[in-house]
Symmetry: C2
Subunit: 100 residues, 2 copies
């Protein structure tokens, strides 16, 4: 088994990238608080993942497509929760948080 550092680093980096949004999404669902989150920042983040997704499609590279599609969904959820009025935030969070 050849030791391919780049492949291992790439796989670990992909895993960390994909999972990095989950704690933030869950914190928003639990607390319904998005006050200190930047809407322009997450708009750029959603834009970036949309572009990386298109990049993967153009190159027909499934690892890039899959990674960025998952990150796009997570980042878009966070942006949506940031932009929603509080009562809609509460409704979405209530639906997603069984202990809510």
């Amino acid at each position: 088994m050849t030791f391919d550092a780049a492949a291992i680093l790439g796989a670990l980096a992909t895993l960390a990238s994909i999972t990095s949004f989950a704690p933030q999404a869950w914190k928003i669902i639990r607390t319904r608080d998005t006050k200190s989150i930047s809407a322009p920042g997450f708009t750029l983040t959603v834009t970036a993942f949309s572009l990386w997704l298109s990049y993967g499609v153009v190159l027909n590279e499934w690892p890039i497509i899959l990674t960025n599609a998952i990150c796009l969904v997570m980042a878009a959820f966070i942006l949506m929760m940031k932009l929603l009025p509080q009562r809609n935030k509460d409704a979405v969070a209530g639906a997603l948080d069984p202990n809510g």
Copy 2:
């Protein structure tokens, strides 16, 4: 000039990725508020950029190295501000925000 969609998409995606942290960092400097930001989330984000940076170094790919080094610095700043006690947060923000 050949129309290379992938190169253009990659460049735009890189630009969006690099700039996406700036609004969040600036909002923290202005408001000194990191309450709704997830520390585990940004720890994973910093981990991901560290891994992508190592990936770029192993492949000796300067675009990957540069992009992820900048993102790492920005994400690490946000994580640092999240973890700092409030009075240190205020001190750092005060130093960085001329109108602070």
